[in-house]
Subunit: 440 residues, 2 copies
Amino acid sequence: MSVQARLFQGTRDILPEELLPRQELVAALTRTFESYGFAPLETPAMEFLDILLGKYGDEGDKLLYKLAYKGGEVLALRYDLTVPLSRVVAMNPELPLPFKRYQIQPVWRGDRPQPAQGRYREFIQCDVDTVGSASMAADAENVAVVDAGIRALGLTEFVVRINHRRLLRGLVEAAGLNASQEASVLRSVDKLDKIGMEGVQAELTAGGIAADAQRALLELMDISGSPEEVLRNVETRVGGSEAALQGIRELRELLEYSAALGVDPARVSVDLHLTRGLDYYTGPVYEVALTSIEKFGSLGGGGRYDDLMSLYGGAPIPATGVSIGLSRVLSALLKLGKLTMRSSPANALVMRMPDAAATEGLKLCTELRTAGVACELYYDADRLKKQFLFAERKGIPCAVILGGNEIAAGTVTLKHLPTGVQETLPRAALAARIQVLTQR
Amino acid sequence: MSVQARLFQGTRDILPEELLPRQELVAALTRTFESYGFAPLETPAMEFLDILLGKYGDEGDKLLYKLAYKGGEVLALRYDLTVPLSRVVAMNPELPLPFKRYQIQPVWRGDRPQPAQGRYREFIQCDVDTVGSASMAADAENVAVVDAGIRALGLTEFVVRINHRRLLRGLVEAAGLNASQEASVLRSVDKLDKIGMEGVQAELTAGGIAADAQRALLELMDISGSPEEVLRNVETRVGGSEAALQGIRELRELLEYSAALGVDPARVSVDLHLTRGLDYYTGPVYEVALTSIEKFGSLGGGGRYDDLMSLYGGAPIPATGVSIGLSRVLSALLKLGKLTMRSSPANALVMRMPDAAATEGLKLCTELRTAGVACELYYDADRLKKQFLFAERKGIPCAVILGGNEIAAGTVTLKHLPTGVQETLPRAALAARIQVLTQR
């Protein structure tokens, strides 16, 4: 009796066609992260339930996947990478601080899956954090590493929007609102891109925020211009607020440092609407938006969170981090035609001819591999048409024919499938020719 | 009230010091796999329980980690990578066969953890399989890809032991045992390395195998010499068995093909003791053993399993695969002193001098990164001694001093920490000098 093969809803297999480009993307990001001195970290999929509970709000607690371990529910699957980082820092007091780490691992959330929108219950997070420094240089590195990482992937048309939670506090105060209203007001403003200005105003009204306070706040947030223009303008408007002044001072530092790190100032804007909804941010916040596709939304973002790294006791440790949305980036690259989809890493299929032993084909494969060409042998002496079709279906660009005649003459016949061009050339020249044909 | 930071027993964090070399190792293996045309696959951590139950024996079923999903236990965590592959093949009939894939993902088993022996409840598996071909060329590629992969990691002293399940059947028959005893006898013989000959004999005796049958079997298995000598010798002894003849014929083909794929024949031996305990193997089996460390055991192995890929219905699909023990390989490299342990990917720490702004250090970092040197800035103008200590603790080999004098003169001071040598050089020459000093 056989069981029906099927997948749990909201999970999926990543087949080669998607995983090959994703792995290239991860490799490019990894190189960028490491060039900034960020070191890799991995944590277990399973954490004790009490390590996770209460860290993601009531809603988050409900989305945890719990494990039935020896009857009681004491374990749950990783929900994000920040709480495990906090645990690692608490458990490893010998780690030299600042601890600069990146982490690329799946997380699990029992959300309603929306595959059409790319929302799954298992998805990869890609986080970069610096724990143990209050310096704006660490924040500037977050901006720079995301900027450099995204450029390394071939995306050039994007902006980095920055803001500061202390400056936002100044704006909230200047609009006549009090500190207890700040968090919910900022969460509403955060939805601007999704629900529009009217939607935000409706939410603020429903939350009991008076119309004139709303107007005052949204007007302040509308201040625009070059980063320095925005900061100078807002300084004259809310300069009485100590919080705002600190925010402005730190943003100026962040801008200076990120320019020193090679971030093109034309790609950075101060956007006073940016709040990054999460309550735990305490300093600068940043978000990367693609400009070449309308309403595409964020490719990543982050900010400073100075109170989160002491969840498990000990003195507060300043920290700042940024997250890259791998699936978002992949989807952007796909929409912009910057991804070559193929389901095989091989650049050549050595075909199996009826008048040549498999050994001959394997030897040719070995020669190609030694010269750096990824290739595979078609095992069986099937009809040539079937072999060509196999190469096409797997997206292998070159087919190589090595029959009895070719072996005797020391030649091979090469067909480049995308153009259909066929040529006969000396066997020793094959690898170099394939490399020219398949250069990307 | 804060919760105590702790880990579930049998799980662990992989800190940078271990993860940096492991990532290099995975990258080298990935390049090798792809050069053979193997494509990457990832499957979800969670599978429906009935997809996994009954595939790993009663013992395995008990070791599954089950998820409490909406009250009932219907999900479990991935236990290996072979069963998910079988499910993927069943669910994707459009996949061109043979489907050559590699998969490097964690699996979870509720075993008793033995951290001292490197046994954890969460560990990485690294599998390479070819589904949909009965050709011995596919088996030879398994041998070749493991051989090339392990050599790419810098290990040279190892042997690939090969054998064949059909040949083993011939030996079992020749020893006067019947087919129903085969599986348990082979499982006992498989433990030879672990429990010694006396242990194996004791187990066979306990299993009701008569002393003369044991003697006959173990004597046959002792046949040694070059691969062809072993095959010729055994052919004369058990040549009456159709199973044995098929095994011998296929092993000869495998040996010929693996030589064509560049595997040094001196590194391959036919070892008639090798059984690879698992019941599901049906053809050739292989195992890689390190020879430079005594009793180190296997670095990986695999074989042909022609009945496993139809677990979820459909016609049987021939398949063959091999697994590399990542932790074993890492541990071997470590013991042989072939791994540089360091907890930072940076090759240079740009120190922060009291008479130079952070911006200056960040600019120098940008110059180094542009030239391909991974580096980081020490953020705070702490005492130099503290900054040097930080570089040492993180294993960063070069410390760079850029103070007011250096900036004015266009120079930098470079200290190579492992040797203590300090030099002053033109700023433009720094990156190249660090590259020379840190070449590995």
